[in-house]
């Protein structure tokens, strides 16, 4: 059975070029970059080159790049490191649709006595930047708003938000885990103070992340230890993964055009064909301001886990915002925040593409998805009721 992998917002394949450059650092090049001998020094040089490559796709200075263990650590470090730097301030602003790496940190802080304000989103999953103006207070310590949503791919007006935040002199963090490598980012012309990246979302391995910290931003280290990362993150550098991430960023820069042309075309093709062939289907989220690789689509009167398992049976790997897939009992907090009706929220499927996907793969999905939805609708008690209500049977 062939595998059609369209779950790249969950994780991506490690690029073969990335794996190749990593391997020597597991064997002969095992030196510690901090060591005072040539053996460590040669590794340090390569770590710095990787840092430059990461800085390059962000339009940042290498000194502004801090390597972490994952996107979640980057997010935690940004929030907790800022709170620690401003202990007298007790108010945070975020959104209702953040990834749990921010959302659950805020819930935790709420229990610890911080005041948390969550911006709502509209039916398109889009934010109203103006709403923010009223919400920033003297006691606000940080605004953290994701760059692009992992479930819908909706891109927020981050620079517009940043202008508002900076006008009030407040630190501004963004979780750009889904945006990095898919849309251009340039910190030189940005209002962002801190930005999180996760390696495994852009064809580097799992277990490596980045926190960009703009020069001059007040920050206390979250991981306390040695002098590594200029004292901003203790712990011996994860050398092979850092080297791999450097290569992945170099590739991401090279492939950025392709993401926004060929992949966008493939995604749009998939979307168009599904909407043409399957009735009562709807796209979730703002279709204009959206990552080029992401399609969140709901099929009414059927349940997402069932769709996923039938797709999986044919080798197609996607994901769902349905309750049953998460082990929780409620559908995705993102779709609920958007007010997607229950008829559709439980039947949402996310397809997320990468540069490794092909037109043939899209055709394979388009061939097999309609019978799957029809099969589940034939089992569903609500589909016939719906058709009846529409006078169609």
């Amino acid at each position: 059975m062939k595998t059609v992998y369209v779950d790249n917002n969950a994780t991506t394949k490690v690029a073969p070029e990335v794996l190749e450059v990593m391997l020597p650092y597991f064997s002969e090049l095992y030196g510690n970059p901090s060591s005072m001998h040539f053996f460590g020094g040669q590794v340090e040089k390569k770590v710095n080159e990787a840092r430059e490559k990461v800085a390059d796709i962000l339009g940042a200075e290498p000194s502004e790049i801090v390597f972490t263990s994952c996107g979640t650590e980057s997010d935690n470090a940004a929030v907790l490191g800022t709170l620690d730097a401003y202990p007298e301030k007790r108010h945070l602003i975020t959104t209702r649709v953040e990834h749990p790496a921010i959302g659950n940190v805020c819930t935790y802080l709420g229990r610890k006595g911080y005041r948390i304000t969550e911006l709502s989103v509209d039916r398109e999953g889009q934010l109203d930047a103006d709403e923010l103006k009223e919400l920033i207070k003297d006691e606000t310590v940080l605004v953290s708003i994701m760059y692009a949503n992992n479930e819908t791919g909706v891109i927020f007006p981050i620079e517009e938000i940043g202008e508002i935040v900076k006008a009030k002199g407040i630190p501004f963090h963004t979780d750009a885990v889904q945006a990095a490598g898919k849309i251009p980012l340039n910190m030189k012309k940005s209002t962002i103070d801190m930005l999180s990246i996760s390696g495994h979302k852009l064809h580097a391995p799992k277990g490596i992340g980045v926190l960009y910290i703009r020069k001059g931003t007040k920050f206390s280290p979250f991981m306390i230890g040695g002098h590594q990362e200029k004292g901003r993150r203790g712990g011996t550098e994860n050398v092979p993964y850092i080297i791999g991430l450097g290569k992945a960023c170099e590739l991401a820069k090279k492939h950025l055009d392709e993401e926004n042309t060929r992949i966008r075309v493939l995604r749009d093709y998939l979307e168009k064909k599904i909407l043409e062939t399957i009735p009562s289907a709807m796209v979730n989220g703002d279709r204009v301001h959206r990552l080029p690789n992401t399609l969140s689509i709901s099929f009414e009167y059927v349940e997402g886990e069932s769709i996923l398992l039938l797709l999986s049976d044919l080798g197609i790997c996607a994901s769902s915002g349905s309750a049953c897939t998460s082990g929780s009992l409620e559908p995705s907090h993102v779709l609920r925040a958007m007010g997607v009706p229950f008829t559709a929220a439980h039947g949402s499927i996310r397809f997320s593409l990468s540069i490794y996907n092909t037109k043939e793969e899209m055709d394979y999905i388009i061939e097999h998805l309609p019978p799957i939805i029809q099969r589940l609708r034939d089992i569903s008690p609500f589909w016939k009721d719906y058709l009846r209500s529409q006078g169609k049977v």
């Binding site: 349940e303 309750a323 049953c324 559908p331 089992i379 569903s380 008690p381 609500f382 016939k384």
Partner: protein, 280 residues
């Protein structure tokens, strides 16, 4: 990914008895679109008042569809009195088990059956008669109490897995805790003595029963792993055996003897049985 049994996968991929009977003798529907799963059950009886035909339509995940399919297979051919005794655990067992977080799917099956039978009998299971404990999922105290009783649930988390109650905002958790405490107390009072007294066996009866148990329960299982066992002697409560085949040099033979052979003999013959190995 959920660890579904082959049986769950089979009933999900090839559901039995899908559909809706026109003009059914009994019909029941539980769940809703908002809750994320729903089951509509219809059945028809034959002249002997046995379930002749039963059909389901289900909106939900793989385990909800498989549970519905299993339910229809279980109750086909049964009288309503027999069918009414089917528990959610029967449905889960039929499927070779469900992930604990998915047990509510089996409970949904049992509830749909109950509703359909009540419908046939002209009764109505009215939610208004009971207190809605969980507002997020509209679960009443009656449903929660029943799940606690039938499945011996001890924690709020378990109640959520079995009924969904408490799986939303979480405000009802104290109420669920109170129900667990109340039902557990009631069950303790009702509980019969731990085990009915066993009839005293004569020596001959005992030897016969040991031989039977070895032949039926124990030796086939050992043989399946390439081992075997011979009964050497029985002296009072002591059973002397010799391990053969792979068992004779298996490093865990001690464990097999104590945890398996002895346990089985205690279960089927007598609580005081002790098994000892005779080495060649």
């Amino acid at each position: 990914m959920w660890d579904y049994t082959e049986k769950v996968k089979d009933h999900f991929l090839n559901p039995r008895n899908v559909g809706e009977i026109e003009d059914p003798d009994g019909a029941g529907e539980v769940g809703s679109l908002a809750c994320g799963d729903a089951l509509r059950l219809t059945f028809k009886l034959d002249e002997n008042k046995r379930i002749k035909d039963v059909r389901f339509k289900t909106f939900g995940c793989a385990s909800a569809i498989a549970s519905s399919s299993a339910l229809t297979e279980i109750i086909k051919g049964k009288t309503l009195e027999e069918a009414a005794k089917v528990t959610n655990q029967d449905i889960a067992n039929y499927l070779g088990g469900l992930p604990v977080e998915k047990m509510h799917c089996s409970v949904m099956g049992r509830e749909a059956l109950e509703t359909a039978i009540a419908n046939y009998r002209g009764q109505k299971v009215k939610k208004e008669d009971f207190e809605v404990v969980c507002n997020c999922f509209g679960v009443t105290d009656r449903e929660i109490i029943k799940a606690i009783r039938e499945n011996d649930l001890k924690t709020v988390e378990q109640v959520t897995y079995y009924t969904k109650a408490g799986g939303g905002c979480g405000q009802c958790h104290p109420k669920i805790e109170a129900l667990i405490e109340k039902v557990t107390k009631e069950m303790k009072k009702e509980a019969p003595p731990a085990r009915p007294e066993r009839k005293k066996l004569t020596n001959i009866q005992k030897i016969k029963l040991i031989e039977e148990t070895l032949g039926r329960e124990i030796i086939p299982a050992l043989k399946a792993d390439g081992g075997d066992l011979d009964l050497i002697d029985i002296e009072g409560n002591k059973v002397y055996v010799a391990l053969r085949g792979k068992c004779s040099f298996c490093p865990s033979s001690e464990l097999t003897l104590k945890q398996y052979v002895e346990m089985k003999l205690r279960e089927f013959v007598s609580d005081d049985i002790e098994v000892e190995e005779v080495r060649p």
